[in-house]
C-alpha cells in the first residue's frame, strides 16, 4: 500500500515536472494597435500582457490587461477604457488556442504558424485563426503576429455622437518573447 503511494507521488511529480519543462512563459510582451482616423490616428501600446505556451501539445494562452494600453492622448485613453472597452467591466482580453501546424517546436528555427482558438475581447468570444511567425531559439521563443479586430464582432459600440470618426477595424500587432516557465 505504502509503495503505491510513493509510486503515485513519483509519477505525479515526474508528470508535472515534465509538463512544466515544456512550458514557456512570456518575459517581454508588446501589444500595439493602430487605427487610421481623419483627425488623429489612434495608436496605443501595452507591455503588461502575459502568455504561456505549451510546446508538448502546442497550446497557448494570452491575457492582456485592457486598461494598460498607453495612449499619447490621455483623454483618448480614458475614452478607450470608459466608453469603448469598458475595461472595469471587462478587464482582460484573452486568447486561448492551439498552434495548428504539427511542428517539432523543440528544434530551433523560424516557423510560419497559425493558431486557432477563442479570442475574447470586451467579454465577447470569437473563434479566430491567427497567423504569425514563431522563432525558436535555445531556451527562448519569439512570437510575432498581426491581426485585425472588427469592433462589431466584439460588440464594441461606436457612438453616433462623436466628432472623431473611428475605424470599424483595428489592426493589432504583438511581439512576445518567451523563456522556460519557472514558478
Amino acid at each position: 500500500m505504502k509503495h503505491y503511494l510513493i509510486l503515485t507521488a513519483f509519477i505525479l511529480i515526474f508528470n508535472f515536472a515534465s509538463a512544466q519543462n515544456k512550458l514557456y512563459s512570456s518575459n517581454k510582451t508588446e501589444f500595439s494597435f493602430f487605427s487610421k482616423a481623419p483627425l488623429e490616428d489612434i495608436e496605443a501600446k501595452n507591455t503588461r500582457a502575459n502568455s504561456i505556451i505549451n510546446l508538448s501539445n502546442r497550446e497557448l494562452v494570452v491575457r492582456i490587461p485592457v486598461s494598460q494600453f498607453q495612449f499619447k492622448n490621455k483623454l483618448m485613453q480614458q475614452h478607450f477604457n470608459e466608453n469603448y472597452m469598458e475595461s472595469e467591466k471587462y478587464p482582460y482580453a484573452t486568447f486561448k488556442g492551439k498552434i495548428n501546424e504539427e511542428l517539432d517546436l523543440s528544434k530551433a528555427g523560424v516557423y510560419s504558424v497559425s493558431a486557432s482558438g477563442i479570442l475574447n475581447i470586451h467579454g465577447v468570444d470569437q473563434d479566430r485563426k491567427l497567423s504569425g511567425k514563431l522563432t525558436v531559439g535555445e531556451k527562448s521563443l519569439l512570437l510575432e503576429t498581426l491581426f485585425e479586430v472588427m469592433l462589431i464582432d466584439h460588440k464594441i459600440e461606436i457612438p453616433k455622437l462623436v466628432f472623431k470618426k473611428i475605424a470599424e477595424k483595428i489592426e493589432v500587432k504583438a511581439n512576445i518573447s518567451y523563456s522556460p516557465y519557472t514558478k
Partner: protein
Amino acid sequence: MRKSFLLFYLLLPFSAFAQEDLMKLVSDSNEVFVRTATFKATRIINGHSVETVGKNNMDFIISHRFDRINRGFEEFFGLDAATNRLGLEYGINDRFMIGLGRSSFQKTFDYFAKYKLLRQTSGSGSTPVSVTLFGGYAICTQKTTPQLSGSDRSSYTAQFLIARKFSEALSLQLSPTLIHRNRADIFTDNKTVIATGIGGRMKLTKRTSLNGEYNYVLPNQIDDNYKNNLSFSFDLETGGHVFQLLFTNSFGMTERQFITETDGSWGSGDIHFGFNISRTFSFEKKSRAKP
C-alpha cells in the same frame, strides 16, 4: 483496491496541462493597476477634482456663468449677461500639472499647480483613495476706488483633494480647503478661511454623468450674507470634448470667489446656469508605428 490503483496510473499520463490550467498560470494575482477616470474632467463643477491633465497634454477650458435665473423674462432668465473664464492646463507628467486662467468676473487672473500624491489602485495591497494636492494664486485686476495694491487684491488657496472611485458609476471626493485673502471685502471677515468641499459624480451612461458639489465654510469665519456654494451639473463627453452643463449659486469661478464670496441663495432662486467646455490637445511626439 489494486485494480483501482492501476486504473489511476493509466489515467495519469492524461493529466497534462489543459488550456484552462494555462490560463490560471498566466493570471498573475499580484497585479496592481491604477484606477483611472475617477472624474471625467479636472473639475467636479467649480472646484478641482483629483484628476490632472496627462503628460504633454493640454486642456483648453471655456467656462460661462450666466446671470441669475430669477432675473425673469426681461433678462431672459439671466442669459442676457454672463461672465466667462478662459483656461489653459498642461500636464508636465502624468502626476503634475500647471494651469492658468482669466475670468471676466473682477478681471481675475489665476495660476495653479496640482500634484497627484496617491493614486487609487485595484488589486492586492491596493491604495484605497487618490490624493491630489492643489495650490493656487489669484489676483483681481479690476479698477476700484480707492485703488488697492496688488497684494491686497491677491488670494491663495491650498487643498487636499481626496477621492475614491467606489464603482464604475460612483466617485466621491472630499476637499479640505484653506483660502487666504490678503484683504477680505468685508473687514470683519477672517482673512484665512477654512472650508471643505464634498463632491461626487454618478455615471448615467458610458458618456454622461450627473455631478454634485457643495463647499461648506466652517462657521464664524465670514459674513452671514455669504452662502455656501452648491452646484449640480450634467456632463456629456463627445470625442475630444467634455461639456458640463451646470447650475450653481456662484458667479465667480476662482476658489476665493465661489467658496468665500458666494452671495446667491438657491432658496430665493439666485441660480446661475452655466457650462464648462474642455478640449484636450496632445503634444506627445508622434512615433508612427505604421504597419
